[in-house]
Symmetry: C3
Subunit: 451 residues, 3 copies
């Protein structure tokens, strides 16, 4: 009989046998391949990127036509980017998006013409407090043209007429996103969502895209209890479009994570869902508490990545966000310094490992009923307890068994047991299995898992 | 259309335009005028003091006749104080209440006669551990005569016969209190109660009396949502009398504050109501948390000022107490050192400001409903969001709007939003108004405000 | 009329008049008398020990026959211990349980024969990290023979053949436990349970046995509100047997404590029941908070003494454990160093005192109703309040009365009042009695006390 617990076993095995070196190198190579592509919330760069991810996991590309109404928003015209150059008064090429695609204001309208420096200034974006870095800036919903450049570059601009050559197009087309579903034994879903609209920013979010695709590939080989849905969506509008067009599926989301910033050297950080202590929140907090590393736990705020949409009050889905250094908190964030050197192969693997461990908790968590609830059962006669008594401390798995027996009164799940006992979830799960094997415990359908 | 939010706007404007210097001088002058009057829980000194406050705000004087039964208490005989002198063996005037009215035991029975020092001692009150200060002592409900003097004065008393000349009277009359009602759009009331029975003690409570009268005058020019009731009552018996004679009005008290010790140099302190987290408690704690100064928050204890009565279990009204240094905690408390020099003009204004800010929260607090609850509405197209995106941090009012939208699911008030977001209430209120103006938010009648 | 509060008065009197010196000496003498007896979970040593306790309090001995099924367990064969000696290759007596009964593996099967050192090693138990101490080890449910010895002794064993002479017997008989019931006015019970199966270990648990017998004797002279049941049971199997054979009595347990380690020099420690904040938990935590000494509070864990059984999920009784240094946390624990020198006479009395104080709380705790709930009643006219007013601080019993009046709204017990006011329970109880005497308060039947 295949029981729903198998995926938890598979996930533990996957975690314990992660080939940190090989897998890390492979993921980092994919990050480097994605990095130079000029992505945006629509367009060919986005499609090309998703197709690269298809080599890791069989995600499908979906198209939502321009003009589609998605709640309060409208899918915009599709952006085509060909080239963008700024040529100085003496004819020299000052900026060329072919060298760094951040130079073009993302979603810039096309423009060709001569502009004096004073007028040009209004179309330039730089960072006075980080003078060596080129910022990432967008203008999705207000037609504008522009360039991004370093403050140092800007200061070197001499007066005179500049030739602007922005060869882009805004025309009817569609918004593209990637989707991959790993079917589970239950219809309830675990959502993993990551944004794929940022151009040359390696940690934010080539890293997240690659990690999610790798996760999807690993889960594809298991038979999980939950159905896992991976979404690779352009930020904000992509998540809104998916939610608008898949409302009945959204209702099935039992747990969810927004993935981003998956590869920098900073500590792991979990940002709670709006609900604050949903099972996904407790699972992620538990995994980080036992990860043996410094880590951060944040309360929900209505800012950041697409948890903003999943956690809007009309949905209020149990979706948190597991990242390394959070949104906006590393100095390279949304600048040209977020390049592949910022992403560490071993950190990509570490982030992946924690996602797998969170899934292990979700898969394995359920409530059990102690079938011998009056006094302790005699574990010794079942070979579950050492025979020589009176030693001061119970060994770890005996303690785990005693905790599971004591708390399995039908109102508590294994995650409750792990939280109260401060034992790691997988020790508790192992104890539950041993006790179930000895006929002392019975899983309950109703509690734990699901919502 | 005049909406109920107008008073919150008026209050913010009043706070932002407080004439600290002029108003402080004016309030301090009133404190100095009240200070020398010999007040008690009944009598002419009390009436004279209330009439001085009438020059600030149009409070009305009410009389409750001697012998009126008010719950477990009886309104006592009215005390008339004319003079009190103690003349030494050599004929010199040792104590004269005309110089400092604390010298007479407050509510002292009349007495005239010669008394040897040993017998006199039983009628003297001094403070061995504060030898230079004259204490304030009362004997309201047990007829007694006596003097208060400094320990130093007491030690200088030589043996011999002393002439006691206490010219007071205890006779049928009435207990007087002041009352001022600022009518609001709702019948629910905000109670502000202050005691006015203490004789020459400047901070306790000439300061509170003047601050409350000034508050009442300022509110008089607004059209608040709540009805504001200001009570200037003799301590304990006055509050009990009001509660006994106004039971149905007491039931309308939605929020209340007991004001006292409003002008010393110490930090602001809020003492919670017996309920502990009533809206008034949350409003006051919020205002102090954002006041930018050191401050104190105290749990309720059944001791202190008239919150003892308002928070008795038969009423359990949501009445806290906002003071500077609390009851009994400054060394000058209930002694001759509590003189006008202890009261600072700028502190009177600072205390007043915090009361106005608490009223702003009470007036402005209500629940709203996000009318576009599925995903975020597109603020940009309504001019509520900057157009160039991807900058790291939302500016403050964008954050306030996002918080209001995210939490306005009908179960939370703006104060809830302020508490959770850690933003100041008036930023949240401003955001709610902007969103309401854009048609994205609708105020709910049922929640927030009221009880 | 004898009211249910009498026992609380008697207990306070008992606490205040404890003859620390005499009683401590008496208890310590009993510990020394019990110490050398070779006890186990069955057998004559256990019976002899209980008969010694009968000289302190009239407990009754009960027998449960071998083979009785008690939940998942079976009462084992009775163990008879006569002697156990290990004789070396040269004929010298290496170990003799007559000198220290820890030397025989407790419940050792009989064995007589010659064994080479290598084979003998498998039957020896020592503590490599505490080389001078002999451990206490048992083998109740798996037939085995063995010796316990110090690591130093073990290292001195020379190769060769050893003569093993373990003269014990395992045969049908019974398990013995002691029981004493002090009848109360109510059928609800307070359980005090202590284990009496350990051989020569003075603190664990001759001390607990003696303290419980002394407590039982003291309570015997009172007329408590609750029925007090004292159990002197072999660990685990004894508690399980009692619970299995007395299920309807178990349901009447309103509060309970497991006593152990009652005499070491360490601080008092309370381990909460599985419920965590049952009345017994709150009472014990309150008593320790006011004991004026360093102390520890522990959360429930399903390990330790017989609270494991009382708090199993099928019972979930409100049973905590009040000890000095907890289970397994002192270096002498379960070794030959737990001898009468480890037990201090004054600590035995101190532990006893805290048990009496916990009983005082349980006996005295109930809810009262303030009969004058609107505003404060006038305490002064009833002689309960000083007449000269305006002093800064209320004296302690006035504060206690104000707290009791303020919180006695029918929903709170005196323990609630003590917790919130931070006053000692007996001050609160005294205030409640004074107010009841003045007709201001009425005890409520329904709340507080019982479950």
């Amino acid at each position: 009989m295949t029981t729903p617990r198998d995926a938890a076993v598979d996930l533990r095995r996957a975690v314990d046998s992660l080939d940190e070196h090989g897998l890390g190198a492979q993921m980092h190579a994919a990050v480097r391949e994605l990095y130079p592509i000029c992505r945006s919330i629509t367009g060919e760069g986005l499609r090309r990127s998703l197709r690269i991810l298809q080599r890791i996991a069989p995600l499908e590309l979906r198209e939502v036509p321009t003009g589609t109404q998605v709640f309060d928003w409208t899918v915009p015209k599709e952006w085509t980017f060909r080239s963008a150059r700024l040529i100085g008064p003496d004819g020299e090429v000052v900026l060329d998006a072919a060298r760094l695609n951040l130079h073009v204001l993302n979603y810039s309208a096309p423009f060709k013409g001569r502009v004096p420096l004073e007028e040009l200034q209004e179309h330039l974006h730089s960072l006075p407090d980080k003078p060596a870095l080129v910022p990432y800036r967008t203008s999705y919903y207000q037609e504008a043209w522009g360039f991004c450049l370093s403050e140092e570059q800007r200061r070197r601009l001499r007066p005179g007429e500049y030739q602007v050559e922005i060869d882009t197009a805004l025309a009817d087309g569609s918004l593209t996103y990637g989707e991959l579903v790993v079917p589970g034994k239950q219809l309830d879903e675990v959502l993993v969502s990551t944004h794929c609209c940022h151009p040359s920013l390696a940690n934010d979010n080539c890293a997240g895209m690659v990690m999610c695709a790798t996760l999807a590939a690993m889960l594809g080989g298991m038979k999980p209890r939950f159905t896992y849905r991976f979404l690779f969506v352009p930020g904000t509008i992509g998540a809104i479009a998916w939610l608008a067009l898949n409302q009945e599926r959204g209702e099935r989301i039992a747990h969810g994570l927004v993935a981003a910033c998956a590869g920098d050297a900073g500590r792991l950080t979990y940002k709670r869902s709006r609900r604050g202590s949903a099972e996904i929140d407790r699972a992620a907090v538990h995994v980080l508490a036992h990860c043996g590393q410094d880590h951060g736990i944040r309360e929900f705020v209505p800012y950041g990545y697409d948890e903003r949409q999943y956690c809007s009050p009309g949905f209020d889905l149990p979706v948190g966000s597991l990242t390394r250094t959070p949104y906006g908190e590393y100095p390279e964030y949304h600048t040209s310094a977020d390049d592949p050197g910022l992403v560490k192969a071993e950190k990509l693997v570490d982030t992946l490992r924690r996602y797998l461990e969170v899934f292990e908790v979700l898969e394995g968590n359920r409530a059990y009923l102690n079938l011998s609830p009056k006094c302790e059962p005699q574990l010794g006669k079942r070979g579950l307890y050492r025979s020589v008594g009176a030693q001061s401390h119970a060994v770890a798995d005996q303690m785990a068994m005693l905790w599971v027996l004591n708390l399995s009164d039908g109102t508590r799940s294994l995650l409750d047991v792990a939280e109260r006992s401060k034992l790691a979830f997988n020790e508790v799960l192992r104890a539950a299995r041993a006790l179930e094997g000895a006929g002392l415990l019975r899983p309950l359908a109703a509690l734990g898992g699901g919502r």
